[in-house]
């Protein structure tokens, strides 16, 4: 996106607020094809996914209505939506870091789980509660680092031994899954007095405070929003962001431009995985206060985050919007299951359909009335400036 005037030198908060409004305006009104095609895609996706509801005796329009009602139709719905948005947003930011560098970190799922383990471990360290709010800070730090370390393993392997990171990160997801299972079922961190297998509850000093009383919404949403803007800043205004751009478009040229490709890749893996770890931490610290047995409850945050990042074109603000939309979808789908009896797994079908439509978006966009040569949309991966 070309800015039409030279940006002011100072990077004050005003500037950033203006900048974000500018982006919002751009995506809403200027990049008309993108917005309209996105809208069409979302609606088609919802309806197409909704047709599967016919098998459960409901028509797609009712389903659509119920989902939206469940997601934003009540205070409970809204807060639940935002609760679901938080970890997805954070993890998706991480995915964006990786995918922009063309580093295929599919391990968000496992990295989230490692973050959960770390959060529980540090959160139950009773001696630390003396530190008060510092305890929470340590929980965040260690979760980030733990996730980051889990992610740097495939990073090192990719850089030093040319191992395909896609497979390694995928395999490590399964390893992390069973690790979390061990922690919540057999380890010293398990809360044996609870009926379902789960970890001990973390100390109060390690909890993220609630944002809205009477709901499950916690300040993690503020953290997530802050990090979204920070991510945007990193992508656009820092050296690191520049390295990401360069390595992502052409690693060979990057070397000649003086960028240390290996170091960038490893840093990206660390940050990407760290954000996922942070996402896991918000689930423990903000939402539940403990870690659940992943066999019992697995919200698949990591995979959903990949969906979000792809749908949002790897742009941090787009990720904010899309993860909120997904929060609505997920909350609405649960509500739909209760009210209509349609299995909530339909949400995944809708995700898949929307993704496929986005993949074919270029074809769709060519047929829109507004599209000209200039508004032809670049494929997802190239649209990250």
């Amino acid at each position: 996106m070309q800015s039409t005037q030279k940006p002011p030198r100072k990077t004050s908060i005003q500037y950033w607020i203006k900048k974000s409004f500018r982006y919002l305006f751009h995506y809403l009104f200027e990049a008309r094809s993108t917005f309209i095609s996105s809208l069409i895609i979302i609606i088609i996706g919802l309806l197409a996914g909704g047709t599967f509801a016919l098998a459960a005796g409901n028509d797609p329009f009712t389903v659509l209505y119920v989902i939206i009602q469940g997601g934003i139709g009540s205070k409970h719905g809204l807060t639940e939506t935002l609760v679901k948005t938080v970890p997805i947003l954070l993890a998706a930011l991480g995915v964006a870091f990786a995918f922009r560098t063309k580093v295929w970190n599919i391990g968000a799922e496992g990295q989230v789980q490692v973050g959960i383990i770390a959060a529980v471990w540090v959160g139950t360290f009773m001696n630390l509660s003396i530190l008060g709010p510092l305890h929470l800070f340590f929980v965040m730090l260690i979760s980030f680092v733990a996730g980051g370390l889990w992610g740097i393993i495939p990073g090192v392997l990719k850089v030093k031994r040319r191992v395909n990171e896609i497979l390694i990160t995928l395999l490590m997801n399964y390893i992390a899954f069973w690790l979390l299972y061990y922690v919540t079922n057999f380890s010293f961190l398990r809360d044996w007095s609870a009926i379902q297998p789960r970890s001990l509850t973390i100390a109060a000093s390690a909890r993220l405070p609630k944002l809205i009383s009477g709901s499950r919404l916690h300040v993690g949403i503020l953290l997530a929003l802050f990090l979204s803007f920070l991510t945007l800043y990193i992508f656009e205004k820092t050296r690191f962001g520049f390295s990401i751009k360069v390595v992502g478009s052409n690693p060979e040229a990057a070397k000649y431009a003086g960028t240390n490709v290996s170091k960038t890749i490893m840093k990206v893996f660390f940050v990407s995985a760290g954000l996922a770890g942070l996402a896991g931490m918000t689930e423990v610290s903000g939402l539940y206060g403990y870690a659940l047995d992943p066999v019992v409850l697995n919200p698949q945050i990591g995979y959903t985050a990949i969906v979000v990042a792809l749908l949002a074109g790897l742009h941090p603000l787009g990720i904010v919007v899309v993860s909120t939309l997904l929060g609505i979808l997920l909350t609405g789908a649960n509500y739909m299951q209760v009210v209509l009896g349609v299995p909530s797994s339909m949400a995944m079908i809708i995700e898949g359909v929307i993704l496929m439509l986005v993949l074919g978006r270029e074809i769709i966009a060519k047929h829109l009335p507004f599209s000209t040569k200039e508004t032809k949309i670049a494929p997802i991966k190239e649209r990250c400036e």
């Binding site: 395909n164 399964y174 390893i175 057999f186 990949i306 995944m348 079908i349 995700e351 496929m356």
Partner: protein, 307 residues
């Protein structure tokens, strides 16, 4: 006594290696033509579900098998459409298909009810051969599908290395532009190899729900599609080596199940044992990383020769 355990172990090895072997054989074809199809996992899942559905509603396992294979082929077709015709990114497309397949199969599973017992393929001992002292129970007392799977290894090897079609596929995978200039239809070849891969993935899935187990459960492929892709790499994209890699993997899997069953370690070890196959696959991949030679055009987008 020890011999008995070893024989049982090896028999399980074959049983466990087969779905991965089958999926890997198909995926090898796709990859040899330059297409990295991460959607194998989704294909296996779809095959498993639709085989389950077919058997559930007709009481006939063969119908289930046919349905499962078709589902796998359709999944492959979907992948081919996006990556070959629309030139979408292969990694992203594969992941998308997996997500869609997981959602669809879970949903349909919820609607018709999972965990039901269906008519499946029971053990089919080959009359004379299964009485051979040690090899008998291991190799010749498996399910029907398993024998087909085993036979596919030499079949695929011959197709890939000794037929015109195999040569075409390999040419497309090494240098699609050069292949196009000698008149090979790159896109059509890729479509065929991808659909073949999907067929095998569906077959592997049907094996899972109709031979390995007798039912369907959510996400029952458990990463086997990804392991299959890893096996392709470990086997350097040739069927016999893939057989070896699959057997190795099946052995680790059988071993961890046996250790659990024998209670050799405490119950706490169960999650770690379950991790073993994945850890093993990862270590194997690391070890082999510098020594394998993938098809040169693997995972690269090819938009056709400049006109």
């Amino acid at each position: 006594m020890v011999v008995e355990i070893v024989v049982l172990l090896l028999a399980s090895t074959v049983r466990l290696a087969l779905p991965i072997l089958i999926a890997a054989l198909g995926e090898t074809f796709a990859e040899r033509s330059g297409m990295l199809n991460l959607g194998v996992e989704g294909g296996i899942l779809m095959g498993a579900l639709f085989a389950y559905v077919g058997s559930l509603y007709t009481g006939n396992a063969f119908v289930g098998l046919a349905l499962g294979i078709s589902a796998g082929m359709l999944t492959g077709l979907l992948f081919a459409y996006f990556t070959v015709t629309l030139s979408a990114d292969q990694i992203v497309t594969g992941l998308v298909i997996n997500i869609f397949a997981l959602g669809l199969t879970t949903y349909i599973g919820h609607i018709i009810g999972m965990h039901q017992s269906v008519t499946s393929f029971s053990e089919f001992p080959i009359p004379v051969l299964s009485d051979i002292p040690i090899l008998g129970p291991i190799l010749f007392n498996q399910r029907l599908l398993a024998y087909v799977g085993m036979l596919l290894v030499p079949v695929f090897s011959i197709i890939l290395f000794k037929t015109q079609f195999g040569l075409t596929v390999r040419a497309v995978g090494e240098d699609p532009l050069a292949a196009e200039t000698v008149g090979i239809k790159v896109n059509r070849t890729r479509y065929i190899s991808i659909i073949l891969g999907g067929l095998m993935a569906g077959f592997a899935g049907a094996y899972l729900s109709l031979a390995f187990l007798s039912t369907f459960s959510e996400g029952m492929s458990s990463g086997r599609g990804f392991i299959a892709i890893a096996i392709c790499i470990l086997g350097n994209w040739s069927p016999y080596r893939i057989l070896g890699a699959a057997i190795l993997f099946g052995f680790i899997d059988a071993l961890q199940i046996r250790i659990q069953a024998l209670g050799l370690l405490g119950v706490w070890a169960f999650p770690f044992l379950l991790m073993l196959p994945y850890i093993f696959a990862a270590i194997a991949l690391i070890g082999v990383a510098k020594k394998v030679s993938p098809p040169k055009a693997l995972a690269k987008v090819y938009k056709g020769a400049e006109k």
